[in-house]
Symmetry: C2
Subunit: 800 residues, 2 copies
């Protein structure tokens, strides 16, 4: 078992690495040639232009102003400066609400700036836009305060562990003396823990309620303040039944003309352009290679570049690279042309799904919320996702296939989750001192060196876990895609749910049970699954030190690594060197990335879980959690302001999930405490804990009933208000032309149109504040206003 | 432990009592003076008139035709004669579908008639309207066949129990030899049970799927074939927010004029008439007493009846009864008048709820399925229940109060469920031979008489349980009312769910665990709740004989008692003697009752649970279950055709609950089998059982997704079709007048209007086949067509 000394070493290592990351970041971000890596958001917004254009050559690449290095942490207060309302305008509601998750963990808005103020003697004022109570009163700071003020003294003033150490040679660290383990069996002191469990639960629920309320009102405000968007008028219809006499398009038109006669406007059938999209993608890769060879040739005109045609260019015939790529591209262009023709003219490529648009928001709201057909598996309607949020590949999956896919994925996920445990357990067993000594006795002298021992115990288990987790999100995302969700946001939400379950079972339970199992000489291993609460309860206090290390490795150092953005940095410079010819290429070389809700959110939730579970058991863990939340909040606020470019905007539709998971963490923490206390024979107080999960689940149901519909439905009152307002403001606006080609597969909106699209987009969006200089907007197919007529014609007008 | 002999005695007793009940029924029902007790449905339908009017006096009271007594069972084939479609017309969809639950348990449509045919030499033909597969292929008959063909031989050809009996003096009955208990530990024969468990599950799921499909299509057909009903056009709006400037009525009108401008027609505010209703009820009771005294006086004119004014007429001053009642009634009439005025004019009596009617079914369907306001707890809309289905008292409960009430009831129900177990357990312990001998040793010689011993063992535990359960439904219904549901049908559904949970925990688990606990010398009692599956699994085979007795007492004799209708019979004759003066009074004295979904359905479900749990464990129990289902089906079919008068028609809205509970029973049976097999150390085969509950739950989710919305939503396609049809058929129909007073509190529709209402109702309903002679229709306030104008005026026109 790790002692305080081990933790100190681990903390020092992690603090050092975090500091090094931050230092590297501070230096790198000030270099002008990295500007596009660390501030891509501003380039995309058109508010920043390449510094390389002006000034001396050296100045363009390296920052020689030493004053700026001294204030190397001043990105932190800068990140905190922007008020939340402005942040919503700048980065969207999704990002702003995502930050509130960190904020929910801890309050720091005013603490960190004050600390940094002292360091940098910079004065700025952020206190005006938010009241103190708004920011201060979040979950973990008051809990930590209470726990340290009450639980720690109660735990510390016993000597159970000391006695146990003497009697049966149990090892215990100093941290354990602050924990519930130090309280003797049947003690009356457990009443304190009981009362604290109630206090923590009520406090957490109160914060959750306030947050839910706040986020719901932010969402409604955001939706109502937004300008016209095609998805407000559009409904996605799936499972259009086959009809021998009519095409899908005719069928859809007739059905909606009959059943929504006053509101139906137009529709857009969905075509299966998956093959076309992959061809276009292939062509783009080839084009990149051609650019690379041409650039190479232009730099060294003596030798025409050559390549091998075989696997990965490693084997096969040698050919002239430029000629080869040109002919390949020509072939692909022709293929694309044929495929495009086929998709547009072949009725088989039309899927039984359509985007149906209505004259008013009211009509769309009605259609999205009601059942259309007798058979509830036909004519399924739902809100159309934003055009850029649509996941086109999945639009054509029929209903029956969907539920079979769901079963398959459920079973697959089950196996993934439970078979993943085996490698983790074995690696952790290997990584323990005893494991290494047993399997590789010759390493014993090296390991016994005190410093290396500390490193192994404090560092390796965390790293092993981390490596395992790296490959997971891709698999989970694939699963969600296979399951058939039709929007990127729902794909991410689903993956996040899966990832969270995975983290609970493998990281939380896996670490607690198998780790503890090895420590406690296999005493648990063969126990039945029914005894889990007790088993967890007993193991929880023993793993406190492991989780403290985990928080430091994954939380502190990991977050500091995030801000450094090493991967995008390297890729950008490689692309910049090999591919970039024009300013537009440079734009494309930027990879701002996005928040990554599917992996980021479950990771935060794991910290919530740890915080809540250990709040009553080992309060010594709480400060580490608080530091994580505070640090992560600043880092992600900086990233959101300067780097990330969200692919879509779901209007914080993920909040019910976030809420539900914190509730789940609460219930787990209560069950673990019940298990722990029942093994401590606190039979007087344990029964009183039963009410806690009941109340918590009731609270959850209450919140769902009260707020959830704000995240899934669109109230008619709202729709009618916006419709009326718009009709009086722009009585002659042509909605049909506006919606005509909003939902066309992005592959039909060729790159050539990007510019026009963007200019048109600009005319329509009223919320942009500053004139822009950017040339193309990626992944944002704004509907074209000019193209008219029915859909196939409109599509044909795209890239010839 | 009960032996085969005990069971035979018990079976004989129960068969005898069932036979006696049936005989009594056969004799009583043929007497003309009981006609209104056993055929009230036909009176209410107007298809039967009092036989007392014609013929000789004796003939009017006693049936002297002895030929009819010989064929005393011929009500059975008569009950089976009516085809299902006609039954739907005759008794409504609810009743017809309710019968399908029994039918799902077993098929007998063609078996029983054939048996009876042999008995009575009566020939009739029912085979035309349903194919054999439709009726034959239900859950338990094939399961029983399979189980007896395969499991029973596999179980019987072991001698584990014989050996155990020799070695450790364990007692085992012959039934146990047919059960899984007879298979030795670690035997390979458990594979048979595994395969059978899969077969039974798949078979049950297949039947459930077919039934769900059939019932859903029946419901849709029923709804679409129905004539115009006010609830098709009406939506119940609750939680209208308070407004300082407008009344609720104005507010509702404005809100819907704004948000549903093209569809809103009219509305009806809800008034708090609870006090008025109770006053009217009180007056009616007094009126009954007055009638009684007047009748008494008219029979014996020498002495004016007197009564005491105190508690229950037992103490206090003696007064002239007729004068006293008359003055009391006069006082009440005045009070009612005042209260009526108050309710109609006091704005405080207007509740924040309203019935909003729309011009078309489409408009109502849209409003009921969508969210109206930004705040999801305001302007809650849902389908209005049928006017006679509305539970008026609950219309005014605000949202927050609702969720608090739900928590309170959840906790109360929890305590009710778990504290109820204590008396049952102690009574059962007392009622066992050992218990009685221990506590009352002087009874020993009596008890040891073989016959009495059998009676005690076979009869008492069942009776004790039955008595406990008698008082429960009232409590559960009160709970549901307190929870705030707004329609009788949903109240009954909720009570049924609660009752089912209660039955599972107290009857099923309670009998298995505590009973077994006493038998097995308290070895289970202090075990933790975690081990439940194993504990149940072990105990299940031991309690087979107990449940066989239970089925005979509760199922066989209980159902035979049901058909006798002793309570209504006595009450009718008492009323007839003391109160009835006119033919109308006689009508009112009839108490046809209704199906009682809240108690009946959970009881059937208990038999499903027993059947499924014991199918793999003790197949000997299955024949008893099959006989129960067959018998109950015939009896209830008879009752539905001849007796019950449903208070409301929900269109089989309860089917998803029925389906869900059979699934729950399946999962419980699978878990019990897993528990049992894991204690039998069948470690090779047990893991393969894990897939079963997963598949079952997935199947449930699939069915819910596929069919459930047919029971909760109203498809727009359907609504539009009916609207269009109606518009072309009756272009000048005045919907507003039709709906004007549909949703007026029944207390405002004085009894005087009953007749008119009914006549109007008749004009509107097109599906009545035969002219009616009945005079009043109770509990069926059909909307008045004549009264026009806005609601308060319309109300005032009611009883002056």
């Amino acid at each position: 078992m790790a002692t305080l000394g081990d933790i100190a070493v681990s903390a020092a290592i992690n603090l050092l690495s975090a500091f090094l990351f931050l230092l590297a970041f501070a230096i790198l971000r000030l270099q002008p040639f990295n500007d596009r890596v660390y501030f891509p958001k501003w380039y995309l917004k058109g508010l920043r232009s390449s510094p390389s254009r002006s000034g001396a050559f050296v100045r363009r690449i390296v920052n020689l102003d030493f004053r700026s290095y001294i204030r190397f942490l001043n990105w932190m207060p800068e990140a905190l400066k922007m008020p939340e309302r402005e942040l919503v305008d700048h980065a969207g509601l999704d990002s702003a609400v995502y930050l509130r998750i960190y904020l929910m963990g801890v309050c720091l808005y005013r603490v960190i700036p004050l600390l940094l103020d002292g360091y940098m003697h910079i004065c700025f004022n952020v206190s005006s836009q938010a009241s103190v109570s708004e920011w201060w009163l979040k979950i973990f700071v008051p809990i930590a305060f209470l726990a340290w003020a009450i639980l720690v003294p109660v735990n510390y003033t016993n000597d159970t562990l000391k006695v146990a150490q003497l009697v049966s040679n149990v090892t215990a660290s100093d941290i354990d003396k602050l924990s519930i383990s130090n309280i003797p069996l049947k003690s009356q002191r457990f009443w304190t823990h009981l009362v604290m469990a109630y206090a923590f639960t009520f406090w957490t629920c109160y914060v959750l309620l306030r947050e839910y309320e706040k986020v719901a009102s932010m969402r409604l405000q955001f939706l109502s303040s937004e300008s016209r968007r095609p998805d407000q008028f559009t409904v996605l219809v799936r499972n259009v039944p086959p009809d021998p006499d009519e095409t899908v398009s005719e069928l859809v038109e007739h059905f909606f003309l009959v059943n929504h006669p006053d509101h139906y406007l137009t529709h857009q059938v969905v075509r299966n352009a998956n093959k076309l999209a992959s061809l276009v993608k292939k062509k783009k890769t080839k084009q990149n290679w051609l650019d690379y060879y041409q650039l190479k040739y232009s730099r060294n005109q003596l030798q025409r570049p050559q390549k091998k045609t075989g696997f990965l260019g490693l084997c096969g015939e040698k050919v002239d690279a430029i000629d080869h790529q040109t002919s390949e591209i020509w072939k692909l262009t022709k293929e694309i042309e044929e495929e495009r023709e086929k998709v547009l003219n072949d009725p088989k490529s039309i899927m039984p799904a359509a985007f149906v648009s209505f004259k008013t928001r009211w009509g769309a709201a009605v259609c999205a919320q009601t059942q259309q057909s007798r058979n509830p598996t036909l004519w399924l309607t739902e809100w159309a996702p934003e055009p850029r949020d649509v996941y086109w590949q999945n639009l054509s999956i029929p209903y029956v296939s969907l539920s079979v896919r769901r079963l398959i994925i459920a079973v697959a996920f089950f196996f993934l989750t439970f078979f993943f445990m085996i490698p983790i357990a074995s690696v952790q067993a290997l990584a323990s001192i005893e494991g290494i000594e047993k399997r590789a006795p010759f390493l014993k002298p090296v390991i016994e060196i005190k410093f290396i021992k500390s490193v192994i115990q404090g560092f390796l288990p965390g790293i092993a876990l981390k490596l395992f987790l790296m490959f997971l999100p891709t698999i989970l995302m694939f699963m969600s895609k296979f399951e058939g969700f039709v929007s990127l946001s729902s794909l991410e939400r689903r993956s996040a749910t899966r990832y969270y379950i995975f983290l609970i079972i493998n990281v939380f339970l896996g670490s607690i049970l198998t780790g503890a199992a090895f420590e406690q000489l296999n005493s648990f291993i063969k126990q039945s699954a029914n005894e889990i609460p007790k088993t967890i309860g007993v193991a929880v206090p023993m793993k406190a030190t492991f989780f403290i290390t985990y928080i430091m490795v994954d939380g502190w150092a990991g977050i500091a690594g995030e801000v450094l953005m090493l991967k995008p940095l390297i890729i950008y410079h490689l692309k910049n060197f090999f591919l970039v010819k024009t300013e537009k290429d440079r734009e494309e070389a930027m990879d701002p990335g996005s928040l990554g809700f599917d992996t980021g959110e479950p990771r935060i939730q794991l910290y919530f879980l740890l915080g809540l579970v250990y709040a009553t058991v080992t309060p010594a863990l709480l400060p580490f959690i608080i530091i994580f939340f505070a640090f992560a909040f600043v880092v992600f606020r900086h990233q959101i302001i300067n780097v990330y470019n969200q692919e879509y905007e779901s209007g914080a539709a993920f909040w019910p999930d976030v809420h539900g998971r914190v509730i789940a963490a609460l219930v787990i923490s209560q069950l673990a405490l019940m298990g722990l206390m029942s093994t401590k024979r606190a039979s007087q107080s344990t029964p009183f804990l039963i009410a806690l999960p009941v109340l918590t689940i009731w609270f959850h149901m209450f919140c769902e009933g009260r707020y959830k519909s704000a995240f899934v439905k669109y109230p008619l009152e709202e729709a009618m208000m916006k419709d009326t307002l718009e009709r009086s403001r722009e009585p002659n606006f042509n909605v049909k032309a506006y919606l005509q080609s909003a939902y066309i597969h992005p592959v039909f909106k060729g790159d050539d149109d990007d510019e026009d699209d963007y200019m048109r987009g600009k005319e329509e969006t009223e919320s942009v504040l500053v004139p822009t200089k950017r040339l193309s907007r990626k992944n944002t197919p704004v509907p074209s206003k000019i193209s008219g007529g029915s859909s196939p014609e409109a599509v044909k007008k795209g890239e010839p």
